[in-house]
């Protein structure tokens, strides 16, 4: 009984300590710069090329995080006034839309002072370019005897039996479906802008639906390809190249791919705008950009950085001339106007 009494007293101490701790927690919220990327292999490369050197050089506290491009998360943060992200990696349609809706801080390019160092498309009202990426058709060269040569082959389950990976969303998926249905790359967005075109894309997707395994995170396609869960997949080019570097025989098919820029954007209401500017400046330098691109082959937005890359590396970039043949530039304007409706329809379609 005595022992219980004693433990009882120590329980009281424990309780008091914890309550004091609880009180302290309310007041001590860390004010580190929170940088959100798409994570995975790209996030790892960012850590090596940007985060760690930035922390070392500026002594700024930095919390990295990742997401899968859910623009809505940022929007609800801003609309409810709880902005905990300071810098986000954005795809161009969401950036454009968010900029118009007032979700992002407009960038003061004079203050940044790097406007003339970057390629033209990297300079946006609310965003500074991070890199050029591409969504490609990828497959495991060891497992497929015959190489697929287009999105038509991707849809051909007779010739290439097995599951296919596609990103769970309307974006890119509809473009690929139209190409599989015979629409040339340069006409994809013209066709997609008509209601008949959208119906056509969904009809084409219907054909493949039972064979599709949907991915959400960019790290999934290379993993599934390696594990043999899927025979082909749409994938972010850099992730595939990263798997190639690990000795995997994954192959990228460049014609029919969709390329675009990702941007750094500052959500409106961020409390670390100064540090965010410093970070953007730091990450746009030729040296840091080259360091990033040698980790994962996404194209630098600082042209000087490209010269610093080895010729072999340069060939892996989405911006390499040969890789751009037959490729399609992301239809930013199209997706700004139609993403809401098409994503909704896609979701209803996928749920059935």
């Amino acid at each position: 009984m005595n022992a219980v009494f004693r433990s009882n007293r120590s329980l009281k101490y424990f309780a008091t300590t914890c309550l004091v701790g609880l009180g302290l927690l309310i007041s001590t919220q860390a004010q580190a710069l929170t940088v959100i990327s798409f994570g995975g292999a790209s996030g790892d490369a960012m850590k090596k090329a940007y985060y760690d050197p930035f922390i070392a050089q500026t002594k700024t506290e930095l919390t990295p995080g990742d997401y899968n491009g859910e623009f809505a998360k940022i929007r609800s943060m801003v609309e409810t006034g709880n902005v905990s992200w300071d810098l986000v990696e954005m795809e161009s349609p969401d950036l454009t839309r968010g900029c118009f809706e007032g979700v992002f801080e407009p960038l003061d390019w004079d203050k940044l002072g790097i406007k003339d160092q970057l390629m033209e498309s990297a300079v946006n009202k609310c965003g500074a370019g991070v890199f050029v990426w591409s969504t490609v058709l990828a497959y495991d060269g060891e497992k497929l005897k015959e190489a697929p040569s287009s999105w038509k082959d991707f849809w051909d389950v007779q010739k290439f039996p097995g599951k296919r990976g596609l990103r769970k969303g309307a974006k890119y998926t509809l473009e690929f479906a139209l190409q599989a249905d015979g629409v040339p790359a340069e006409e994809v967005y013209t066709v997609l802008a008509t209601p008949e075109g959208v119906d056509r894309a969904f009809k084409k997707l219907d054909e493949l639906k039972p064979h599709i395994q949907w991915w959400e995170a960019g790290a999934q396609p290379p993993q599934w390809l390696v594990a043999g869960d899927v025979v082909m997949s749409s994938a972010y080019s850099g992730r595939i190249a990263a798997a190639q570097a690990e000795g995997r025989k994954l192959v990228i098919l460049w014609p029919g791919s969709i390329y675009d820029l990702d941007y750094w954007a500052i959500p409106k209401g961020s409390k670390n705008i100064e540090a965010a500017y410093e970070f953007i400046k730091f990450a746009s330098q030729p040296d840091t950009q080259a360091a990033y691109s040698s980790q994962i082959p996404y194209g630098p937005v600082n042209p000087t950085a490209i010269e610093k890359l080895s010729p072999e590396k340069a060939k892996e970039m989405p911006t390499y001339t040969d890789n751009l043949k037959g490729a399609l530039a992301m239809g930013t304007e199209f997706w700004v106007d139609n993403s809401e409706e098409l994503e909704q329809r896609f979701n209803a379609w996928a749920a059935k």
Binding site: R75, E101, A227, G228, E341, E343
Partner: protein, 415 residues
Amino acid sequence: MATQTMAPPPTTQTSLKTQLRRAERRRKLNAFLLVAPLALFLLVIFVFPIGSMLWRSVDNSELSQALPQTAQLLSAWDGQQPPSEAFYASLAQELKSALANGNIGSLGRRLTYEDPTLRTLVTQTIRKLPDTPETTWQQTFSTLNPRWAELSTWQALKKAAPTTTDRYLLASLDLERNAQGEITAVAPEKQVYIDVFLRTLAIAGAVTLICLIMGFPLAYLLATLPTGTSNLLMIFVLLPFWTSLLVRTAAWIVLLQSGGMVNTSLMGLGFISQPLELVFNRVGVLIAMVHILLPFMVLPLYSVMKGISPHYQRAAISLGAHPFKAFWQVYAPQTLAGVGAGTILVFIMALGYYITPALLGGPSDQMVSYYVAYYTNTTNNWGMAAALGSLLLIITLVLYMLYQRLVNQQTPNRR
């Protein structure tokens, strides 16, 4: 007791009674005061947040917040007369202030639900809208886009003007209001949610049934074995029960994927030549959910069975009943309360599952919770999230009340 024989003066008796009553009342108050902090805590952090979320299922304030004056005009408008200059003037002024206030995003989203092209119309109009009209605002709008001269555009706006709406609740039942305001079914290609609800019920039902089939014999075995053995075997039930849900989900992916242990061993044993598809589909979801919820079936069944005396069954057998008959007619009926509690508990918990289907299922295996999260996180359609959530909550609450009744009928403490 002693009052009868001693018969004390009536005054003392009443004061004793009031004293007793007062003490009793104080005890009740005391008891209530002890419960009050928790009740208050739950009201603030749990009940109120859920309640205010449910409110969003009928909330329709986007337009009236972004364009207050226009909303008033629209509400007063009969929907037939061509809108007057006042409408255009008010819209011109308020669109600009909405853009400045950051209200344009939520307005655009709200308009998309009425007509997907409305958002583009509004945003494109704002970009080109001059500060002052050349002639009239009506003229200016109509030159920017002829759709502003059409009645249907304004009728759509009018629909978004009231501060409450039933559209989300209707939509979560695959219903909508047509142009005449009557409730009709939505076009077949847009029908989703009835399917999703049926699917949710089907998955929860299948999981419950499998849990019962697997859990009943196990609980019976544990309840009838000697204590030492049954305590040892109980660890097999309790350890998974205490193990993190995410750990178990990860383990199931490792086990079930096409190059995973289950497939490789089946292929190694020569049962199959092609790997089975066990994950990212319904099979994977069911296996993992049964695994997670099975202890919730076994434990209540076990505690009920532990309390059933084996004598009745033995008596039935010694009176000549076949052992199977003795089991079904004598033993099984006594377990009914436990079966009821276990099945409802498992069913309720299964209804709200989100993480397991999200990690182990494909798009056609997602349950209602997934769509609540989807609408909150991916499209900011909070009305839909709240409406689907409300329906799910109602189903859960009804079942929960049933469960409370069943449990209260049993002994007060089950554990």
